[in-house]
């Protein structure tokens, strides 16, 4: 479910922010954290049609980004890949939000 994936993504990013010592990556993670929070707020605000292809794509992209984040939590050298993956997932969720005219 998209809500569960967004929820996991937010938790993963929180943990990575607390772990990383790299200021640039931390800044980028904090921006992504706020974007994900905004997207989660949209989801909470409105029920989303789970049959939409954008919903499926956003859920899959977040699932992939969350897997990357789990790896990065153990090995911070993988953080850059996580940030890229999370950025793609955030774009997918934005596409979904645009589709259902929420933003």
């Amino acid at each position: 479910m998209l809500g569960d994936q967004l929820s996991d993504a937010l938790t993963n990013i929180t943990q990575l922010i607390l772990k990383t010592k790299d200021p640039a990556k931390r800044k980028r993670l904090m921006e992504q954290h706020e974007q994900l929070a905004g997207e989660l707020q949209i989801l909470v605000d409105k029920m989303v049609d789970q049959a939409l292809p954008e919903y499926v794509a956003a859920t899959a992209a977040l699932e992939e980004a969350n897997l990357q984040a789990e790896v990065a939590k153990l090995d911070l050298d993988k953080l850059a890949a996580t940030i890229t993956s999370m950025a793609k997932a955030i774009d997918q969720v934005m596409l979904l939000a645009a589709k259902i005219s929420l933003v």
């Binding site: 809500g3 569960d4 929820s7 937010l10 922010i17 607390l18 905004g38 707020q41 909470v44």
Partner: protein, 301 residues
């Protein structure tokens, strides 16, 4: 409305003869247990939602104090400190919880040797709570609710065991399906996942808690003095408190509501028997107890 009440009353009186004497000891035990748990779960849930709103507004305020307003649309701003905890969003769930509590209190008032005034108050609260809920309004018209309330008060107020039995059975038969729908709402709204998927109350608390946690951490690591660190830590305690409520309470409310749904189904199925089933009641009683004890710890720490 008066005519509906009279018709219902007449129907109840006509069937009274077939009901024999009052409630059996086992029926009283089952109803007393159920009513106590329903009141506990309803009151605890209603109280927690009020706490969530209060703490959510505090957390939103602190995030703005620490980081300023967010550039992301939809997140809390100075003019919307209650974002995510708006009355329009929280109130319907509080009403659903209040209705469950009032259902339990009405049942308890009818089963126990309660004064007429207590029965009147409990059933009035019940009808008012139910009348405000869309889940109930879709199935019962306001006139019907008023009529049921009148019948319960009139029959329940008479100190005759047989008539009390009649009133309790009518309460279960008529409002059991509404209780089932209210339970569904609490199960979904408070779920901590994975089944059913995380509900809005859980997700909203998570969103608020994690934004505050990141803001506090940022402030703490940038603090150069004891005083600055102390200020950041004071805010961190709010993060901790919110997280504890989210992790310890949401799932317990959802699970208690699921147990109440099962117990309610069993009650509707077997309460007309002299020896109704008590199997599902045990789980409900345990869940209600666990919820209550968690709240005692969280509210007094």
């Amino acid at each position: 409305m008066k005519r509906t009440a009279l018709a219902l009353g007449a129907a109840c009186l006509l069937t009274a003869a077939s009901l024999g004497c009052g409630l059996t000891a086992r029926q009283k035990l089952v109803l007393a247990d159920f009513s106590k748990s329903a009141a506990t779960v309803g009151e605890a849930t209603s109280g927690e939602l009020k706490t969530f709103r209060e703490k959510g507004i505090q957390a939103n305020t602190q995030v703005i104090v620490l980081k300023g307003e967010s550039p992301i649309p939809g997140l809390p701003q100075l003019g919307s400190l209650d974002r995510g905890y708006e009355l329009s969003r929280v109130q319907p769930v509080i009403r659903a919880a209040d209705a469950l509590a009032a259902y339990g209190q009405t049942m308890a008032a009818l089963v126990n040797d309660t004064q007429t005034s207590d029965i009147k108050k409990a059933s009035t609260d019940l009808m008012q709570s139910l009348g405000q809920l869309p889940e109930v309004k879709a199935h019962l018209a306001a006139e019907q609710l008023d009529a049921f309330g009148t019948v319960i008060q009139e029959i329940g107020g008479i100190w005759v065991e047989r008539k009390r039995k009649q009133a309790v059975l009518m309460l279960v038969d008529r409002f059991g399906p509404a209780v089932d729908r209210l339970c569904d709402r609490l199960i979904q709204d408070f779920s901590a996942g994975p089944t059913p998927a995380k509900g809005w109350v859980y997700l909203q608390l998570q969103l608020t808690t994690e934004r505050l946690e990141v803001a506090v951490y940022d402030q703490f690591t940038a603090s150069a003095t004891y005083r600055d660190r102390q200020l950041a830590l004071d805010t961190y305690l709010l993060t901790n408190d919110l997280r504890a409520h989210r992790d310890e309470v949401c799932a317990r409310i959802s699970e208690a509501a699921a147990a109440m749904k099962r117990a309610n189904a069993s009650l509707m199925r077997t309460i007309h028997e002299d020896q109704p089933s008590m199997e599902e009641l045990k789980e409900l009683s345990e869940r209600a107890g666990t919820l209550q004890s968690a709240l005692v710890i969280l509210r007094h720490k």
